[in-house]
Symmetry: C2
Subunit: 420 residues, 2 copies
């Protein structure tokens, strides 16, 4: 088989310029989340195939990179289906591995457990500009905290981090799965069709109120239901306080606790936020994953159509592994989109050490070489970044390239010092 210079389809090589920004963003994320009491953990990138195919991951389960069995367990010739040859796969998100991790290690973890994960995930999506099949995710999760303190802390930690990276004027949109359900119930949709209704609702920002109406009617829902549903959104657009309006209108369809908790989250975040953003209630926010049970939220950036991260509460997922539920809530930053936005804005990593390049003529060796290296070692100890390199034939071009890499000073060393 011929060797291939290209990365595998849909994945990319990350060059030094981008890596410098990624490393910087990672350090800001780790430091800021650390201040909020989140501790780093790591689960393997490979998970048992049963854990990945448990119908919690929605569409993502169709996109799994599956791993072949090995040794005696593998018999390709006799195999009839994928299940016969596969025992594991690459994770498609960090939530399923986190919940497995927590179920496996709960006895050694504090309560509540505040986890920070940064790691690659893989999805075999159709390749398209700006989306890759391997990408970094950055999740914080709080397990064991039933109260909305979890939501408040997750939103503050995430927005503080975004603020430190220089993002402004963004929005946190927040909603509740129980509000979504109450709105559908109030309108008279049959319970088994909720997920279909929400899929249509999710398109509101693209197709508008009329588009949603049209699609719901086309899907065969009763006009009475659809009208009642749409009247809620019309009412919302005129209401000063959307959550209050819905609580009043939905009446007994919505538990009072839902309104109170959501109001408290919004008020607390507004009162204590340390960066420049708005938190707004958005009754059209759906989020795809079927594992969410309560609050859901999303980051909307003005510079970027679509979401730059999101999360929510998933109180029923640990129970699938252990048999007993543990309250859980998480927030995932769209790491790759953040990097893309920073790259496009010409972002430069702040504070870097002084960069000096020592260029040594080819013939210089022995004691002279030692002298140059000793000098470099001293400067490095003092905090300077020193590149020691042989002088290229085209010294002018070499220096131009080094200037592009950020080297600001040069020293040259010749075999015959008179040349200097």
């Amino acid at each position: 088989m011929a060797l291939s210079k290209k990365p595998v389809t849909g994945m990319k090589d990350i060059l030094p310029e981008e890596m410098q920004i990624r490393d910087y963003v990672i350090s800001v994320i780790k430091e800021t989340y650390g201040r909020f009491g989140f501790t780093s953990i790591e689960a393997p990138c490979v998970e048992n195939i049963a854990n990945l195919s448990n119908r919690q991951g929605g569409e993502n389960e169709k996109l799994i990179f599956k791993i072949l069995k090995r040794g005696e367990k593998l018999n390709v010739e006799a195999a009839e289906t994928e299940e016969d040859v596969v025992d594991s796969g690459l994770r498609y998100d960090l939530t399923v591995p986190l919940v497995r991790f927590y179920s496996n290690n709960a006895a050694q973890l504090p309560t509540p457990f505040k986890a920070l994960q940064m790691g690659n995930v893989w999805r075999a999506e159709r390749p398209q500009r700006g989306r890759y099949r391997q990408f970094m995710q950055c999740d914080i999760d709080i397990l064991g905290e039933a109260s909305n303190l979890a939501e408040i802390e997750l939103i503050l930690a995430t927005t503080t981090t975004l603020g430190k990276l220089g993002f402004k004027n963004f929005q946190i949109r927040i909603n509740e799965r129980r509000i979504l359900k109450a709105m559908a119930a109030y309108s008279g949709f049959p319970e088994e069709s909720y997920d279909g209704v929400f899929i249509t609702l999710d398109k509101m920002d693209k197709i508008g109120l009329e588009g949603v109406e049209k699609e719901l009617l086309e899907d065969g829902f009763e006009k009475g239901c659809v009208d009642k549903y749409l009247s809620l959104f019309k009412g919302l657009s005129e209401a000063k306080d959307g959550v209050r309006y819905l609580a009043e209108t939905l009446g007994e369809f919505l538990e009072p606790e839902v309104e109170q908790s959501l109001q408290e989250i919004i008020a607390s975040v507004r009162a204590t936020k340390s960066s420049d953003f708005e938190i707004v209630f958005d009754a059209t926010l759906v989020r795809g994953m079927s594992y969410y049970t309560g609050t859901i939220f999303e980051i909307a950036m003005p510079e970027f159509g679509g979401s730059c991260g999101g999360g929510g509460r998933y109180d029923k997922m640990v129970g699938k592994f252990t048999g007993s539920d543990v309250p859980a809530c998480g927030f995932s930053i769209g790491f790759e989109r953040i990097i893309l936005l920073l790259m496009e804005s010409g972002f430069k990593v702040p504070v870097r050490p002084k960069q000096v390049a020592y260029l040594i003529e080819k013939g210089v060796g022995g004691d002279e070489l030692c002298g140059v290296i000793a000098k470099a070692q001293k400067a490095r100890q003092d905090g300077t970044k020193v590149l020691v390199a042989r002088m290229n034939k085209n010294k002018k071009f070499q220096k131009e390239q080094l200037i592009k890499e950020g080297y600001e000073e040069f020293e040259e060393f010749y075999k015959n010092p008179l040349k200097q």
Copy 2:
């Protein structure tokens, strides 16, 4: 299929305590290598199967986690061999991906190119204590530098990093593939049997001179050859300067350039090193990978039987991808062994921010909750790590656990302040 709480066979969950040390070591590595002018890059974890199976990776190629084709390209029922169902695999080291990366991106990279890679690799080895099927590697490589400046800088950068992590009294063992070959040629072994001879030689530290003699004779080599070969090692054990002794003894079997370069590396490193280690010539050092063409080296730690990292020159590998050779030399730190040694020595991460925990009684909400969170936000801005958590029923136990996590101060917030 039932969900599994355990990680997949042979891989492990990394708990907060270990992650704290890993994150610290990663930051020291990135900073120190940065000072030497190495820049971070990243290649995908998945590589085309042809690149992984090119016979450069030795035994590791048998241990590849292979990835199933997807969609229309996959037909399990009709498949007869692994090749029919597989298109890619997880990398087993960082060298093959680096060389592919360089071949793909050379036009955008400086010359010489000094790369730092930190990332996971996967090998389906038989599970055993302390060895895992997913583990982190940390490699520095210099591409495009033909002179021994590459070796000197790689060894200095690696040893400076180890020094900063507190390691002392370790050894860098160094040898040359061309010396290995010259010794075998001088002794009269047939060229096609060199690799077999080296496999036996590699066991010297375990089976001793007599063991090597016995094994070579059992392998059917002529007594004359074996005697001549062993006389070299006996001579070495008495020689003051092993490299000089071999150059004199091997005569025309060894190019003079090899001795000169090796002496220069050893002398330069001794003269300019900034941490507490020895560099020694070791004619029994072999290193397994067949891609090495020149210098080879290894880290030996007194606390640890076996190698804690190693590397060497591989001048012929880029040519396999591009058709024209580029000089290349790399050094890989045994990251997981470093972490193991630090954990076992009770290593504590230096300099950490002050850790304070705010414990809030369950009923506290609304404005009171806002007040506590605002206070936490202020302290975080000032650099303190603040955990805001609900008070557990067993407050004493909760505090004990938090003290174990490093929290040194506590503040408690009650609904009825009189309780305080």
